[in-house]
Amino acid sequence: MGQWEDEFILDCGLRIADWRWRVEVQGNVRGSKRSLTIRNPQSAIRILAALWRLNLAEELQYRANFVASVLGTFFWIGTALLTLAVFFSHATRLGGWDYWEVVVLLGVFNALTGVIEAVLRPGIGRLAGEVRNGGLDLVLAKPVDAQAFVSFRRLDIWRLSDVVLGLTLAGYALHRLGHTPSLAQLAAFALALASAAVVVYALWVALMSLAFWFVSVENLSVLFDAVYEGARYPVSAYPEALRFLFVYLIPIAWTTTIPASALTGRLRPEIGLAAALVAGTALALSRLVWRAALKRYTGASG
């Protein structure tokens, strides 16, 4: 039921964006041979804006969800801090990090969780079901890039509160550390955090692409949760083998450990550039996986 409503709203959004673009940019559509040039970036932004505006209008109807979401975040942060308290009651450092440094990392983790819950899970997280029941046909028939549309079609605005609360937590922890980041460190943090979001996105794309091979698996997003669980703590706290895994093979070290390190000055600001490089590579690889996966799609709807 909810899904059909969503589909309907998305369709409307797309159509509105399309019409507007034709009217505003092309003027008279009739006779124009360029009626399908919707791939130009300006119109992509228009479509995105239209989709998100409709989402926003929809979400604003459910304001109680905002309260529930914030309460949930507070509960989660409280649990995470208590977890740390248990670890730190038996140790003075975790993988060489002291308490407030790990809290900075926790803030970063929470901010990224906000991005995941607001955009990725409600968007690309639904892919497995759509591959299974053929719903993807509707997406592929649209004159837009399928990966971009699948990925960014939804914005659960309330969950963005996690981003705010996470960054606030990181800021407070920095204050308790008595560390005032330099301009270079802040810039490196911003770059590393943006890269982290890209790496998380690439992981989602790569994992959800598995849906094209394992069609009967509906809970593929669980795979991401399992992997991401490891990002709650600095990678240096894990045994050697896991550390290798998290830095090089499933690059979740780059999602929390690196941005937090850039902010606290544990790593030199140049790490931001390395993070951007990793993010670019991950994005390119995930795009290749997506392309290869899409070729396997044969459609299932009747």
Binding site: T83, S89, A237
Partner: protein, 269 residues
């Protein structure tokens, strides 16, 4: 007693049915299993680093390894998803046709639990056996008596967690946030049921408070029985605690079920 064979036949059919349904979703079940073992694996990784070459409150690296392997197994054997199912059944009206059957819906849920647990716990046991060939730290001492006691404790814990999950799911008769309550419960159980750390590693006041709740009896007690950490009096109090809390949750289930059904206005067709 003459009804025993009838129930045996009924359950054999229900379990077989649930087993065959699960068979279709093998890959999904493996993913849930993977999701279930990452939390203890991450906790083990952290404690492994903290313990170093020494001990933490009597736990050395090998003890942590055994504890968290036992935890993965016992958790898989006792986990119950029923509150999520019930929440959906009640909100979307699927409960209707289940009520129309000549069998209480709980029996079907129990059968599903048995089939699911047999499959996933079997996988963990195989992995554990393979790992213990190359990693002596996770080997358990050969003690059939203790294993028998553990089996009884696991059975009681599984029953308790089933009734907790089922009862919480029934709250969907009154609220739309029944699963949120279950997640709250999961958050508290992270500490009090020993998922994050053996209870001996929590502050003594917290561990003492935990002993007054049902949390340690649904996970930590069977785990410590299996690893051998629970000895003597602790075994007796553990079983007493399990029986008392199981009774309490059965009563809670009974009240919620009868009151909830009276309230239930069927949705859907």
């Amino acid at each position: 007693m003459s009804r025993a064979p009838l129930w045996l036949r009924r359950y054999a059919a229900l379990i077989r049915n649930a087993w065959l349904v699960d068979l279709q979703y093998r890959a999904s079940i493996v993913l849930w299993l993977l999701w279930g073992v990452t939390e203890p694996a991450v906790a083990l990784g952290i404690w492994w680093g903290i313990a170093g070459d020494g001990q933490v409150a009597g736990y050395a690296r090998a003890d942590f390894a055994r504890y968290f392997f036992a935890l993965m197994l016992v958790n898989q054997l006792t986990i119950a998803w029923d509150s999520w199912y019930l929440d959906g059944w009640i909100r979307e009206g699927e409960l209707n046709f289940r009520l129309a059957r000549p069998l209480h819906p709980a029996h079907e849920a129990v059968a599903e639990n048995i089939a699911y647990k047999a499959r996933t716990a079997g996988m963990i046991v195989v992995v554990w056996l393979v790992v213990s060939l190359v990693w002596p730290a996770v080997r358990l001492p050969l003690a059939p008596g203790r294993w028998a006691l553990t089996a009884a404790a696991v059975l009681l814990a599984a029953a308790m967690r089933f009734f907790i999950s089922f009862t919480t799911g029934l709250l969907a008769f009154w609220t739309t946030r029944a699963t949120a309550i279950m997640e709250l419960h999961a958050g508290v159980s992270l500490f009090l049921s020993g998922r994050l750390a053996p209870l001996a590693l929590l502050p003594p006041a917290v561990a003492a408070a935990a002993a007054l709740t049902w949390f340690p009896y649904m996970l930590a007690f069977p785990v410590e029985l299996l690893t051998g950490a629970a000895q003597g009096r602790a075994v007796v109090t553990g079983f007493v605690g399990q029986l008392v809390w199981l009774g309490v949750w059965i009563a809670a289930y009974h009240v919620t079920w009868t009151r909830g059904l009276r309230r239930y206005g069927a949705v859907g067709g």
